[in-house]
């Protein structure tokens, strides 16, 4: 069942087009990474989905309706956006009490969400004294208040230290395991690869790819790399077999089009010694860089 649906979404700010005819959907119970370089339109898209930014055209729907029209079901959508502020003079618990009141919800879950986000000991601290990572956790705590079926998170890893990133990975995995539908934008692709089932990749406001993370990674799989004292002889043989071969250093070749077993078998048949052979397993990062062609582009 489709929970989030974006159809032909366009957002222009004056002459600049931030989101350009974007369409994708997110199914129930999936964890979807929302990826793209800086300025790709991720945050703007999430804000349109949550009714904070008005689309120029197109639709961004949750359960088939705009966020503003969800009624009571809106309480089952939790969101933490990167640019959300927290009043510095309000305590952690006070902030959550205000959010409960605004949502028309009881305060019964405040303890539970503080526990879940590791913020229990900071409940009485004023938000102005929190680190960026603690503020991120508080944002996530706020998103969890309604025990949401759908969570929309914008760059939740920003400001987290390595331990925090590790915690976030587990946190997002738990959300997925609990059957929640999660759409999460992130720059930390290695992390996304570990918790996301699917990925939606944007570049310059346009969709460049959407599908299972495993398929994206597979598509990004790069060459078999070999090191041989008879590299040129091996190159000729591989080329004759239809492979694409590039020089990757002295005596080193990078081969596309044949897998490691095929390369090794061919080399053995020709009596060409191989000193080293590696297969690049591919990564979401490589897939992202290829899809968005951002290698070498300033972020």
């Amino acid at each position: 069942m489709t929970v989030i649906e974006v159809r032909g979404l366009v957002k222009r700010f004056g002459p600049a087009t931030a989101v350009d005819d974007l369409s994708f959907s997110v199914g129930a119970g999936t964890v979807t990474g929302f990826l793209g370089p800086n300025g790709a339109g991720k945050t703007t898209t999430l804000r349109m989905l949550l009714g904070l930014v008005r689309p120029t055209s197109g639709q961004a729907l949750i359960w088939g309706r705009p966020y503003r029209e969800l009624g009571d079901r809106r309480k089952r959508v939790g969101a933490a956006l990167e640019t959300s502020g927290i009043h510095p003079g309000r305590t952690v618990a006070g902030h959550l009490r205000v959010r409960c009141a605004a949502r028309g919800a009881g305060r019964s879950r405040i303890g539970a969400v503080l526990e879940e986000t590791g913020m229990s000991e900071l409940a009485g601290r004023r938000a102005g004294g929190l680190s960026l990572g603690e503020r991120q956790r508080l944002g996530l705590a706020g998103a969890l208040l309604g025990d949401p079926e759908v969570m929309i998170l914008d760059e939740p890893a920003n400001g987290l230290d390595p331990a925090g990133v590790l915690w976030l990975r587990g946190f997002l995995r738990r959300l997925g395991d609990q059957g929640r539908t999660v759409l999460v934008s992130s720059h930390i692709l290695a992390e996304v690869a570990q918790f996301a089932d699917r990925a939606v990749v944007l570049d310059r406001g346009r969709l460049v790819s959407a599908g299972p993370v495993a398929e994206l990674v597979k598509a990004a799989r790069r060459a078999v790399t070999v090191r041989s004292p008879r590299a040129e002889a091996l190159r000729s043989a591989l080329t004759a077999e239809g492979a694409t071969v590039r020089t990757a250093g002295p005596g080193r070749l990078e081969i596309d089009g044949l897998d490691a077993e095929q390369v090794a078998t061919l080399a053995a048949a020709l009596g060409i010694p191989i000193f080293e052979m590696t297969t690049d397993a591919g990564s979401l990062e490589q897939a992202f860089l290829r899809l968005t062609a951002t290698e070498g582009r300033p972020g």
Binding site: R47, L52, G94, V98, R99
Partner: protein, 260 residues
């Protein structure tokens, strides 16, 4: 609407904004009230008449002029502060009905303004009574008049705070909104009131100050000479109408804008 109201009142209860602005209003009222009381009847500079007279006592009771301005700024902070601190995102995530949020903020600001006005009125009244008593003067005004001025300060503070909430929505930039409100109260109304006296009585800050006891050519800041006071209920009506008009203008324009 109930949850929006509950949230807005809770927001005010969980920060120091109201206490800080009330403190500022009390301090300004005390400063002006004491200066006026000390110099009353001396005939020097802008000294008010003796506290033994009805005019002198009324002027001293109306030392709340700057407190009224602070009440408007409290309202500005209630709304524009959400944009300065970027808390508007969570506010509109939790309550997507922006008109409803603005209405709730105006009501909460009015309540906070009433608290501020009560503190300012109590300060001014305490100073006027204290100085009059210390000099052995009997109260030169009847009790109902004194209550009317104090009540005027409370009601005017509440309505100006609500109008300030609208202004803070109309001008999202808090510093810009603050400057606009201060400039309006201290410059625009004085200039317009002094040049077009028939219009001056309908200006919000002038109407508020008159409710608090200021008179033609009196008060701090001074009501322009030649501005005839509106009847008390009419002044309250003008203030309420202006607060509603600003809120409606904001609801139809800036409140609908994207929340970045």
């Amino acid at each position: 609407m109930t949850s929006a109201l509950h949230a807005e009142f809770l927001k005010l209860a969980t920060t120091r904004l109201v206490a800080a602005m009330t403190g500022l209003a009390v301090a300004l009222t005390a400063l002006i009230g004491v200066l006026e009381a000390v110099t009353a009847g001396t005939g020097t500079g802008m000294a008010i008449p003796s506290l033994a007279t009805a005019d002198g006592l009324r002027d001293n009771l109306a030392a709340t002029g700057f407190a009224l301005l602070v009440a408007a700024l409290l309202g500005v902070a209630v709304t524009s502060g959400e944009y300065r601190l970027k808390t508007a995102t969570d506010t509109y995530l939790d309550q997507p009905g922006r008109g409803r949020v603005l209405a709730a903020k105006a009501v909460a600001a009015a309540a906070a303004g009433a608290v501020l006005g009560t503190a300012a009125a109590a300060t001014a009244t305490g100073i006027a009574f204290g100085f009059a008593a210390s000099r052995g003067y009997p109260l030169a005004l009847p009790g109902p008049d004194i209550a009317r001025y104090a009540g005027g300060t409370v009601i005017a503070s509440a309505l100006l705070a609500a109008a300030g909430a609208g202004a803070g929505s109309l001008i999202r930039h808090q510093v810009g909104a603050t400057i606009a409100v201060v400039a309006w109260g201290l410059v625009v109304e004085l200039v317009v009131g002094a040049t077009v006296t028939t219009v001056g009585r309908f200006l919000p800050y002038t109407a508020a100050a008159i409710m608090a006891g200021d008179t033609n050519g009196g008060g701090m800041p001074q009501i322009p000479r030649g501005v005839a006071a509106l009847p008390y209920p009419a002044a309250a009506g003008v203030l309420a109408a202006i607060a509603v008009a600003i809120a409606v203008a904001a609801a139809l324009t800036t409140v609908r804008r994207d929340v970045a």
